[in-house]
């Protein structure tokens, strides 16, 4: 008999935990940067359309798959998908739903640990008196491991281990006693902190506290629509990608959380509530902090330059400096709120990442909750240490790309086909509607069957063979040169090989050669973990056969 006796404490707790799973660092760091790079206000239109025809259907698919699997005592994707599709290979497709979480947690907890450390540094006033270069140099020193800023040897490693210990301990307290309790505290605080910072983002006045622009300049920069970009496939691909990452679909966490819901209880309204809560945090709060505050103090040109390297740089290398412009006390409060908000966004997601592995061990091997939680912590520590120690050698980015990006699209594509075409849309629709507290429009039957899988296929193909510079016009007219960001070029390490060929400085060449080694080593490690989980799924299958369950 399975050792899995988990339950949710309350419906609101489940929704907050689901929303916390979806709300992550990307809501505050990725969304505004994507919007700036893809047509500003015009980005929001494809973004909302993708939310309606891909995001919401995927939420319903995953919630109902999870609840369906839970009915048969399955709380992780390998055997959830196995109950829906009878082909023996489905359970190995389900491995993605455990593997992705372990691999993403490995680097995600590292960013989470930065936020924890930066909360401490904000309280201690570390950034007071530093200029922007100083704050940026502080971050570079921090991730270089070599020097300590707090007098703690290997400071980044210490915070990473602390963060993992915290995650593991909370997971060991169970769903209601751990994960849900954190969500009930973390989500309201996150929204409160976000509202305070959004208010600051809306009320910056040029000439006050070193600001060079009113907040309207930043908000206009972010929201003014560039309609010429509206028909660009690149913009639509970016919007679809953002919907993916922001909702945490294609990961296996939603299935796991929903597997503890009984079949007569609602999932349709729950999914809508959690999904829209995520959108509120992203579109309303996420868009009102990073870019408006940065532009208020640095101007459009500088921020345009900074966003090219993504939101992480702005969040950790720039905002701590800008907060100090508000004075020592308010600067410290803003720092605690900003990094506290990111910490809550991070931990509510990383906790979700632990639950599929724990559910699998509890269901298949009768592990106790605590042992399962600590095994997760240990695996993540082993897999995550390379991202900490070799951060500058591309290990972090490799994990993020393969586990945190490509894998999500592949798994979501498979599950949408499984749900709509193999399990069958009629049975699937009944699953969505079972116990529902809202009437789901019938049009979604058509969308789930045709539109969502086709959109996912397009996102996958678009990522596999992205044309150079995102120029689809040139590609479709016959000149289809692959961009370095395409999956195929990534797999071939084309960008690294070109940089190596062009490099003349021996130090740069040595660094690039090391990077190439670590990039390939990371991939081997990730593949080994996937195969290891697949082997466990096979052993579990044999065990089920022996016990007469199959």
């Amino acid at each position: 008999m399975s050792a899995n006796k988990e339950s949710w404490g309350s419906r609101v707790g489940l929704i907050l935990a689901m929303a916390g799973n979806a709300v992550g660092l990307g809501n505050f760091l990725r969304f505004p940067v994507q919007a700036v790079q893809n047509g500003g206000g015009a980005f929001i239109l494809p973004y909302l359309v993708c939310f309606l025809v891909m995001g919401i259907p995927l939420l319903w698919i995953e919630w109902s798959m999870g609840r369906f699997g839970g009915r048969y005592g399955n709380h992780s994707t390998p055997y959830i998908v196995d109950t829906m599709g009878k082909h023996r290979l489905w359970k190995y497709i389900g491995v993605f739903g455990i593997w992705t979480n372990i691999a993403v947690a490995a680097y995600y907890c590292y960013i989470e640990s930065w936020t924890l450390s930066y909360v401490v540094h904000s309280i201690l006033g570390t950034f007071n008196g530093m200029d922007q270069e100083g704050v940026a140099a502080f971050f570079n020193t921090y991730v270089s491991i070599g020097e300590s800023t707090l007098g703690i040897p290997l400071e980044a490693v210490v915070f990473y281990v602390l963060c993992l210990l915290l995650n593991t301990w909370i997971l060991s307290q169970g769903l209601a006693g751990g994960v849900e309790r954190v969500a009930k505290v973390g989500m309201p605080l996150l929204i409160l902190f976000g509202m305070f910072l959004a208010y600051k983002g809306f009320t910056i006045t040029a000439g006050e506290a070193g600001a060079i622009n009113d907040s309207s300049v930043g908000l206009n920069f972010l929201w003014t629509p560039d309609y010429t970009q509206l028909w660009s496939p690149t913009v639509w691909l970016a919007a679809a990608g953002q919907i993916f990452f922001t909702l945490s679909v294609g990961m296996g966490t939603i299935h796991c959380y929903a597997s503890y819901v009984r079949s007569k209880d609602d999932i349709a309204l729950n999914a809508m509530s959690a999904g829209w809560m995520n959108e509120f945090v992203e579109v309303v709060l996420g868009a009102s902090i990073l870019i408006p505050i940065s532009i208020g103090y640095l101007g459009i040109d500088r921020v345009t330059e900074l966003v090219q390297s993504g939101g992480l740089g702005l969040a950790f290398k720039t905002l701590p400096f800008l907060f100090t412009q508000w004075g020592e006390v308010l600067g410290a409060i803003a720092g605690v709120m900003w990094f506290g908000l990111l910490f809550f966004a991070g931990i509510t997601s990383s906790l979700a990442m632990g639950t599929p592995w724990m559910g699998f061990l509890q269901d298949e091997f009768n592990w106790k909750r605590k042992s399962a939680a600590w095994s997760f912590g240990l695996i993540v520590l082993i897999l995550g240490m390379p991202t900490v120690l070799f951060f500058h050698y591309g290990v972090f980015d490799e994990y993020d790309y393969w586990a945190g990006t490509v894998s999500l699209v592949i798994f979501a594509l498979f599950e949408s086909i499984l749900f709509a075409w193999i399990f069958g849309i009629d049975k699937g629709w009944r699953e969505i509607m079972s116990g529902s507290d809202i009437k789901v429009p019938n049009i979604y039957k058509f969308i789930i069957k045709f539109v969502t899988p086709l959109l996912l296929l397009w996102v996958f193909i678009g990522s596999l063979v992205t044309p150079k510079g995102g120029d689809w016009g040139a590609a479709l007219s016959g000149n289809w040169e692959l961009d370095d960001s395409s999956i195929i070029k990534k797999l071939m390490n084309s960008s690294l090989h070109r940089q190596l060929a062009e490099a003349t400085d021996p130090a740069v060449i040595a660094h690039l050669e090391d990077t190439l080694f670590f990039v390939n080593a990371s991939r081997i490690l990730l593949v080994a973990v996937f195969l290891g989980i697949a082997a466990l799924v096979y052993i579990a299958y044999k065990k089920r056969v022996r016990e007469g369950k199959i």
């Binding site: 339950s7 489940l14 206000g41």
Partner: protein, 44 residues
């Protein structure tokens, strides 16, 4: 911008309100906290 923000906020509030005001389901349900509430006891 304001229209989008208003729309997203209103829909978030609406769906959360619907959750809070949804009629209770008879026990056993999925949630531990309401196990002692008489209104949710098993139907005879």
């Amino acid at each position: 911008m304001l229209l989008t923000m208003f729309l997203v906020t209103a829909l978030t509030a609406y769906f959360f309100y619907r959750v809070l005001n949804a009629p209770p389901k008879p026990e056993p349900d999925s949630y531990l906290d309401n196990d002692d509430e008489p209104g949710r006891q098993p139907m005879a």
